[in-house]
Amino acid sequence: MPNITSNGSGQKTPSVISDLSGVAETGAYKGRSQWRLAWDRYRRNRLAIVGLLLLAAIIGLVACAPLLATYDPNAIDYNYVRKPPNSQHIFGTDNIGRDIYSRVLWGGRDSLRVGMLAVVISIIGGVALGLFSGYVGGFVDAVIQRFVDLTFAFPNILLLLSIVAILGPNLTTVLIAIGISGIPGYSRLMRGSVLQALNTEYVLSARLVGAKDVRIMFRHILPNVLTPIIIYGTLGLGGGIMITAGLSYLGLGAQPPAPEWGAMLNLGRTYMRSAPWMSIYPGLAVSLAVLAINLIGDGLRDAFDPKNR
């Protein structure tokens, strides 16, 4: 019921305003930020929650590798060569007696770390490039965009192989290669956002008032493009992990005796007949990690999708 109060002149007016403020004070109505709204939507998506839990489990296991690993990942033991999974070695042993379970746990650190760092490189580089290109505009922008288009004309794997050919095959090279190859994608995204934002009134007025360019970039443009970057970054993380494993599998990434998942698969290929467990478990680890990340990415995309609002 609206509160009926009287003002000074003796008239009775419904005071809706004081009504609402009363409600606000009790906390019955509390505005939810867009992040909170997205999280609520995400929570309802069962697959997305599964993905989150799975990834948390994987990260937890891998992070606790020093505690959970039963053997030293590089400990060679010629007495237990190519033993199938048993009570001592949960995932079996490889061709020189190393425990596969421990190697999978320790190797996860490399794979996850490279994947994450590569995505970070891509995002930072792409955002910086796109922001700069879009804001500066003109000839510089056109030249940079032509270059970006050129990289899109390349099949991604060839670009990666080229970079590895230059820098030599090791895990750091793979990290740099994947990071670099991701930059054009994010720069496009960022540039689109910048061009969109440049036309808005608040940016125009900010410029009129004399706000410095950098401030405009950070305060007005960046927050709007955060959402697609988060989504693509998540999906890119999964891709990064898979490509890292892939390049290591080809011998172009982590070099032996590093227990990286892809390198383990490479080693396991020779022993497909005699010790299939050497290949099954590392690959399973990669699949589960990527699956978890993809589920999260999908969940995020659906949570932020304006059509679902």
């Binding site: 697959l47 032509r146 288009d149 050129l150 004309a153 390349f154 099949p155 794997i157 060839l158 192989l161 080229s162 590895v164 050919a165 230059i166 030599g168 095959p169 999964g238 898979m242 494993a245 892939g246 599998y249 080809l250 011998g251 172009l252 698969l265 396991g268 290929r269 497909m272 007949r273 299939p276 290949s279 099954i280 590392p282 690959g283 399973l284 990669v286 699949s287 990527v290 699956l291 990340i293 993809n294 589920l295 999908d298």
Partner: protein, 306 residues
């Protein structure tokens, strides 16, 4: 239409030029002296100087680049560091195997992915939709090289159903094509599903239904034609990507294709070969893109205007 084609071809030439420049730059940046690699450790400084002169390695970079491009235009991609065989010849030797595998995987992806996406769209939010999408998600997440290994272990080693390595003939294509094609099939299914669902929301579909158009077949003309536009684009790019990008599968199944050739060349630091493969692969990809664009403009008349 003609103007459209002309503009596209011009763009194609520019892109190829840019790629060739990139590739050339890559080969010049790579550490390692090619002459020493070719002649070995016992080469005298005289030999080295002579070979360098012969290969024009001391000429200014721009001259080297021009000479290289001139060669490319005449079909000469240089000679391998090991064995001196012409690069182009070696590439062409590997191409048929790659095309074979690429086409097989493409057909698999098309025949599995497209119907799957359509079924999922029809059953929107139903059990079938959820199942298909879950399966697709798993298929995308599993690395193809691991899937290849698992399949070889299960079907080759344990059950002995399929030949394991190398091999010619159709039977040896089944496993590699499946491994290579299942990922794209999943992506295709997801794309088709979302595209169809989007089209179903459109006004013209509602109009067609309101008009009481005769039967579902005519609705297919409205729905499918429009929904398939992004699908066709994807298929074109997929085909191009499959031919050059089957690197992992070729490694597992020991197939003599371009991807495996590239890996061997990189490991041996054979830069002319790497250069040639990258050029070839990129050119093929760009060409396919152009074809897809043309096809796209044929299907969707709105594109021709821009």
């Amino acid at each position: 239409m003609f103007q459209f084609l002309l503009r596209r071809l011009f763009g194609l030439v520019l892109v190829l030029l840019g790629i060739s420049f990139l590739v050339f730059a890559i080969s010049k940046v790579t550490p390692g002296d090619p002459v020493k690699m070719m002649l070995g450790n016992r080469a005298t400084p005289n030999d080295i100087a002579r070979l360098r002169l012969q290969l024009h390695l001391d000429d200014p970079l721009l001259v080297q680049y021009t000479k290289y491009m001139w060669g490319v235009l005449h079909g000469d991609l240089g000679r391998s560091y090991r064995g001196q065989t012409p690069v182009l010849q070696e590439i062409l030797l590997r191409v048929p195997a790659s095309i074979e595998l690429g086409t097989a995987a493409f057909l698999f992806a098309l025949l599995v992915g497209l119907p799957a996406g359509l079924i999922a769209a029809r059953n929107h939010n139903g059990l079938l939709d959820g199942l298909v999408m879950l399966f697709a998600q798993v298929a995308i997440s599993v690395p193809e090289f691991w899937l290849a290994i698992v399949i070889v272990i299960v079907f080759g080693v344990q059950l002995g159903w399929i030949p394991i390595t190398g091999g010619v003939g159709l039977k040896s294509l089944i496993a590699p094509a499946f491994c290579l094609g299942i990922g794209p099939a999943a992506v295709l299914a997801r794309l088709t599903r979302s595209s169809v669902l989007e089209v179903l929301q459109e006004d013209y579909v509602r109009t067609a239904r309101a008009k009481g158009l005769r039967n579902v077949l005519i609705n297919y003309r409205h729905i499918m034609r429009n929904a398939l536009i992004p699908v066709v684009t994807f298929l074109g790019l997929l085909f191009a990507g499959l031919i050059g990008g089957a690197v992992f599968i070729e490694a597992v199944f020991a197939r003599p294709g371009l991807g495996r050739f590239a890996i061997l060349a990189i490991n041996a630091r054979d830069m002319p070969q790497v250069q040639g493969i990258v050029m070839f692969g990129a050119a093929l990809y760009v060409l396919m893109n152009l074809l897809v664009d043309i096809l796209y403009s044929v299907i969707d008349p709105r594109i021709r205007i821009t």
